[in-house]
C-alpha cells in the first residue's frame, strides 16, 4: 500500500507543477495597437473599457475588482497589458511599480459628476459653476496643477478659507486614486475634492466627501445616501437614462499600461519588507485606517453576536413551542434567512428596508448580521437543548422544580456546554463575514486594506496585516467563549 501511495503523491505533485507553470510569466511585448490581437488584457469590472474589450474577439480579457488587483496581475505576468484611464497612476507611482504607458488611445471620454434625475436644481448650479471656471481658464489651471504633477500625493490642498455651515451636500467618491481624488488622513485631496470645496463656498453649503465603492455607488445615489457621485465617471447615453450629469469637468484618455522591463532587480527581502511597512503603514499615517477599521469591525461583530444570540434564543423558543403557529413562523424565518446570501440581505436592508430612514449604516449592519446569525444559532440551540437527556428533566421535576426552574438550572448549563463548539464556529464566521460591510460604505478592517492597497498598489502587505488581525480577533473570541464553559475537572 505504501508504494501505491507514494506513486499517487508523485503523480499529483507532477500535475500541480505542470499546472502552475502553465500560468506562465511569459508576457507578450506590447508597443502599439497592432500588438493587441492575441494579448491578455486586464481592466476594471463594470468600466467602460470592459464593454469595449468584451466586444473584441481577438483578445483574452480578464476583469478585476479594482486597480490594485489589475496592477498586481500585470506585475506578476498574469496579463500582458492593462487598459485604464491615463490618470489612474501618477508618474511617481508608475516609476515605483515599474509600469509604463505603452501608448494612449485617441478617443477620450468626458467625465462629469452624476446626480439623481430629480435633483435638477443642484445639477444646474454645479454645471454653471464648472462652466464659469472653464470660461475664465481657472478649470484648466486647477487640472494642470493636479494632473501634470509628478507626485500628486504630496501636493497640498489650497487654503480656501472657512467652510460654510448648514446641511451638507454628500458626495460619494468612487475612486481612491491620485490625482483625481484621494483621502489623506480624513481630508480629501485631489482635483475633484478641490473643485467640490470651491463649489461649497460658491453654493454656501458644506460638502461632505465619502468613499463609496462603484458597486454600491449607484444604489447609494438613487436611495439618497449620497447627493453627488464623483470619481472620473464617464458620461454615456446609457447612464444619462438613469442619472443626471453636470457639464464635463475633465476628460480622460484610455492608456495601455505595460510592465517596464528596464527597472532594476528587486533589492533584498528585508529592505523590501521595510519599504512595504513604510509605504503601507507609515506614509500619511495609513496605520490609522487599520485601527479605525478594526474598531468598526469589533463594534459590529460584538453587537451583532449579542443581539443575534438573544434573537436566536427567542426564535429557538418559538420553534420548540407547542403552539403550531409560533413553531411554523420560526421555521419559515430560519429557512428564509439561511437561504439568502449575506451580502444580498445586507444590501436589501440598507438600500430598501432602511432606505429613507435616517438609520446609520453601522446600525443597519448590526441588525442585518444579527438577523442572519439568529437563524443559524437558533437551530444550534434547539439541537443542544434536545441533546440533554430527558431523564435530567424528569429528575428535576420529580424533585419539585417547576418547568422553568428545571430548564434554567439543569438543562441550560448542559445545553450550553453542548452548543459551545458550533456556536463558536458561527461567531467566528460572523466576524469574517463582516468584511462585506464595505459595500454599504462602512470603513471596516477589510475596507482599510482596500484603501491602502489602492494607494500603494501593494497587494500583499495590507492583506497580510489584516489576515493576521482577523486571525487574532477570531482566536481571542474563541478563547473568551471557551472560558464561559470551563469544565470543573476534579479528578482525584
Amino acid at each position: 500500500m505504501k508504494k501505491q501511495q507514494k506513486f499517487y503523491a508523485l503523480c499529483l505533485t507532477a500535475i500541480a507543477i505542470i499546472l502552475c507553470s502553465c500560468g506562465g510569466n511569459k508576457q507578450k511585448e506590447i508597443v502599439s495597437e497592432a500588438d493587441l490581437p492575441g494579448a491578455r488584457i486586464g481592466c476594471n469590472t463594470g468600466s467602460i473599457y470592459e464593454i469595449q474589450l468584451a466586444a473584441r474577439s481577438d483578445i483574452k480579457l480578464s476583469t478585476f475588482n479594482c486597480q490594485a488587483d489589475c496592477i498586481e496581475a500585470l506585475s506578476k505576468g498574469k496579463i500582458d497589458v492593462m487598459l485604464d484611464d491615463d490618470c489612474v497612476m501618477s508618474p511617481e507611482s508608475r516609476k515605483r511599480l515599474g509600469i509604463k504607458i505603452a501608448f494612449k488611445g485617441e478617443d477620450g471620454f468626458e467625465c462629469g459628476l452624476a446626480l439623481r434625475k430629480n435633483d435638477q436644481l443642484l445639477c444646474e448650479s454645479l454645471s454653471y459653476f464648472i462652466d464659469s471656471l472653464r470660461k475664465t481658464g481657472e478649470l484648466q489651471a486647477i487640472y494642470e496643477r493636479w494632473f501634470l504633477c509628478d507626485n500628486p500625493s504630496l501636493l497640498p490642498m489650497p487654503n480656501l478659507g472657512q467652510a460654510p455651515t448648514g446641511k451638507p451636500i454628500v458626495v460619494g467618491e468612487a475612486v481612491n486614486i491620485p490625482p483625481t481624488a484621494f483621502p489623506v488622513e480624513q481630508q480629501w485631496h485631489g482635483f475633484e475634492p478641490e473643485l467640490l470645496e470651491r463649489f461649497a463656498r460658491y453654493a454656501g453649503r458644506p460638502v461632505e466627501i465619502m468613499f463609496i465603492p462603484i458597486n454600491g455607488a449607484v444604489a447609494a445615489l438613487q436611495s439618497g445616501n449620497i447627493d453627488i457621485l464623483a470619481g472620473g465617471v464617464f458620461i454615456t447615453d446609457e447612464r444619462r437614462q438613469t442619472m443626471l450629469f453636470t457639464s464635463s469637468h475633465f476628460s480622460s484618455y484610455p492608456a495601455y499600461f505595460v510592465k517596464d522591463r528596464s527597472d532594476a532587480e528587486n533589492s533584498g527581502f528585508v529592505s523590501h519588507l521595510k519599504q512595504s511597512v513604510y509605504n503601507n503603514l507609515v506614509v500619511e499615517n495609513r496605520w490609522r485606517y487599520i485601527t479605525d477599521g478594526l474598531l468598526t469591525t469589533i463594534v459590529i461583530s460584538v453587537f451583532a453576536i449579542l443581539l443575534g444570540s438573544i434573537l436566536g434564543a427567542a426564535i429557538c423558543w418559538m420553534r420548540m413551542s407547542r403552539r403550531r403557529w409560533l413553531s411554523h413562523t420560526a421555521k419559515i424565518y430560519v429557512d428564509v434567512m439561511r437561504g439568502i446570501p449575506m451580502l444580498v440581505f445586507l444590501m436589501i436592508m440598507f438600500y430598501v428596508v432602511f432606505a429613507s430612514t435616517g438609520v446609520g449604516a453601522v446600525t443597519v449592519a448590526v441588525i442585518s448580521f444579527a438577523f442572519n446569525f439568529a437563524a443559524y444559532v437558533s437551530e444550534m440551540f434547539r439541537t443542544a437543548i434536545q441533546s440533554v437527556g430527558k431523564g435530567q428533566i424528569e429528575a428535576g421535576l420529580a424533585t419539585g422544580f417547576t418547568r422553568v426552574q428545571t430548564f434554567f438550572y439543569i438543562v441550560f448549563p448542559q445545553a450550553l456546554r453542548n452548543v459551545m463548539p458550533v456556536y463558536k464556529g458561527e461567531a467566528v464566521s460572523l466576524i469574517k463575514n463582516t468584511s462585506i460591510v464595505g459595500y454599504i460604505a462602512i470603513h471596516d478592517l477589510t475596507r482599510a486594506s482596500d484603501m491602502i492597497r489602492s494607494r500603494t498598489f501593494d497587494a500583499f502587505f495590507p492583506l497580510l496585516i489584516i489576515t493576521i488581525i482577523y486571525f487574532i480577533l477570531t482566536w481571542l473570541l474563541g478563547k473568551l467563549l471557551d472560558s464561559t464553559v470551563s469544565q470543573k475537572n476534579t479528578k482525584k
Partner: protein, 361 residues
C-alpha cells in the same frame, strides 16, 4: 397517607385506537410501609409509580394525599413533589454538577438552606450511603451502583415523606445490585415509607411489608410477602412468583403437526437451559399422545418449567373425562411402563375441567 381510587391511564393513538395501561387501580398506602410492586413487563408498574408524583398524569381516577385529591386543578404539584422523592432506573444525576452539588442543589434552591448547612448535611448523608470520599467527584467518574446511591442521597437531602423507586437496580450489573439494596434496606429499617418497583424477588420478599402484584393494568393481588410468595391466590400470581414457563398444544385430531410441536418444544428447552431433557420430553410426548392416550381426542398437551424449583413437567388434559385413562383395560401397558422409566413421577388428578395426567421429568 396515600389513597388511590379507580386510577386509570389511557393512551390514545393518532388513528383513534386507545390503550389502557392502567385500568382500575385501587389501594391505600400508610406511613412506614415498604411496598414492592412486582409483575410482568408492560403491565403498568412504572406507569402507576410515576402517576403518584404526576410525572405521567393519569387520565381517570383520584389520588388522595393526606385526604386531598392531587389531580384537582390548582393543586400545588411542585410542593407535593418536594415531599416525595424519586429514584430512577437510569439514575439521572445532574451531569454538570459535582456529587456534593447534586445533593445540595435542591435544598439550597427550593428549601432556602445556606450553602454551608446544606453541604454539612449532604456530607452526612453521603457518609450514610458510604460515598463520603466521592463528594467532589463528577457523576461521570462513578460506577452505576455508586451513582444510584448518590441518587438516593440526593432524595434524602430533601427530607421526603415517601420515596418512589422505579426499578432502582435494573440497570446495574449483579455485582453492584447489592450495595444499592443494602441502602434501601437501611432506609426501611429507619421507617421510611417507600414504594419500589423491582424485579428482585428475593429482595422484595425480605424487605417489604406488603407486595403489589400488578397484571393487566390492575393490582391483581395485594398481600404480605408470606401470602404472595407462598400462598398466592391466583394462578397467574403463582406462575409469576414461581417463574413458571409453559408451552401449550391442542391436539384435536390426527392432522396435528407433531414435527412442529417437537421443534417448538426443542426451542423451549434451549431457551430455558433444559436441553438435556429434550430427548426424554420428545419420547414421552410421543408415547403418551401416540400410544397411551391415543384414543382420547381432543387432548391438551402442556410443557411447563418452573425456574424456582427447577422442575419440568409434561401434562395431558382430557376434557370431560372423569376417570383415569391409565387404569382402563385398553391402556397400552408397555408404553406406559416406558414412560414411567423415563420420568420421575406420574400424577393422575381429577379437575373441574376434566382429567389431568401429569408426568414429572
Amino acid at each position: 397517607m396515600i389513597e388511590v381510587r379507580h386510577l386509570g391511564k389511557r393512551y390514545t393513538n393518532p388513528d383513534g385506537s386507545t390503550l389502557d395501561v392502567l385500568k382500575d387501580v385501587n389501594c391505600t398506602i400508610e406511613k412506614g410501609e415498604v411496598i414492592s410492586i412486582i409483575g410482568p413487563s408492560g403491565t403498568g408498574k412504572s406507569t402507576f409509580l410515576r402517576a403518584l408524583n404526576l410525572l405521567d398524569p393519569p387520565t381517570s381516577g383520584e389520588i388522595l394525599f393526606e385526604g386531598r385529591n392531587i389531580l384537582e386543578k390548582g393543586y400545588p404539584i411542585n410542593k407535593l413533589r418536594q415531599r416525595m422523592g424519586m429514584v430512577f432506573q437510569s439514575f439521572n444525576l445532574y451531569e454538570h454538577l459535582s456529587i456534593i452539588d447534586n445533593i445540595t442543589f435542591a435544598p439550597i434552591k427550593l428549601r432556602g438552606m445556606k450553602r454551608e448547612d446544606a453541604e454539612k448535611e449532604a456530607l452526612e448523608i453521603l457518609h450514610k450511603v458510604g460515598l463520603a470520599e466521592k463528594a467532589n467527584a463528577m457523576p461521570s467518574d462513578l460506577s452505576g451502583g455508586q451513582k444510584q446511591r448518590v441518587a438516593i442521597a440526593r432524595c434524602l437531602a430533601m427530607h421526603p415523606e415517601v420515596i418512589l423507586f422505579d426499578e432502582p437496580t435494573s440497570a446495574l450489573d449483579p455485582t453492584m445490585v447489592g450495595e444499592v439494596l443494602s441502602v434501601i434496606r437501611q432506609l426501611a429499617r429507619e421507617g421510611m415509607t417507600m414504594l419500589i418497583v423491582t424485579h428482585e424477588m428475593k429482595f422484595a420478599r425480605d424487605v417489604s411489608t406488603r407486595i403489589f402484584f400488578m397484571n393487566e393494568g390492575i393490582i391483581y393481588e395485594d398481600g404480605t410477602p408470606q401470602q404472595i410468595f407462598q400462598n398466592p391466590v391466583h394462578s397467574v400470581t403463582k406462575a409469576f412468583v414461581q417463574r413458571i414457563h409453559k408451552l401449550v398444544f391442542e391436539i384435536k385430531d390426527d392432522t396435528f403437526d407433531m414435527l412442529d410441536m417437537h421443534s417448538r418444544m426443542a426451542q423451549f428447552c434451549i431457551k430455558y437451559n433444559i436441553a438435556e431433557k429434550r430427548g426424554n420430553i420428545d419420547k414421552i410426548a410421543d408415547m403418551m399422545s401416540g400410544k397411551v392416550l391415543a384414543t382420547y381426542k381432543p387432548l391438551t398437551l402442556r410443557l411447563t418449567y418452573s425456574e424456582q424449583d427447577e422442575t419440568t413437567a409434561l401434562d395431558f388434559m382430557i376434557e370431560g373425562l372423569e376417570t383415569s385413562p391409565l387404569q382402563t383395560p385398553e391402556t397400552d401397558k408397555n408404553a406406559l411402563a416406558e414412560v414411567r422409566n423415563l420420568s420421575k413421577e406420574i400424577i393422575e388428578e381429577q379437575t373441574t375441567r376434566g382429567f389431568r395426567v401429569k408426568v414429572i421429568i
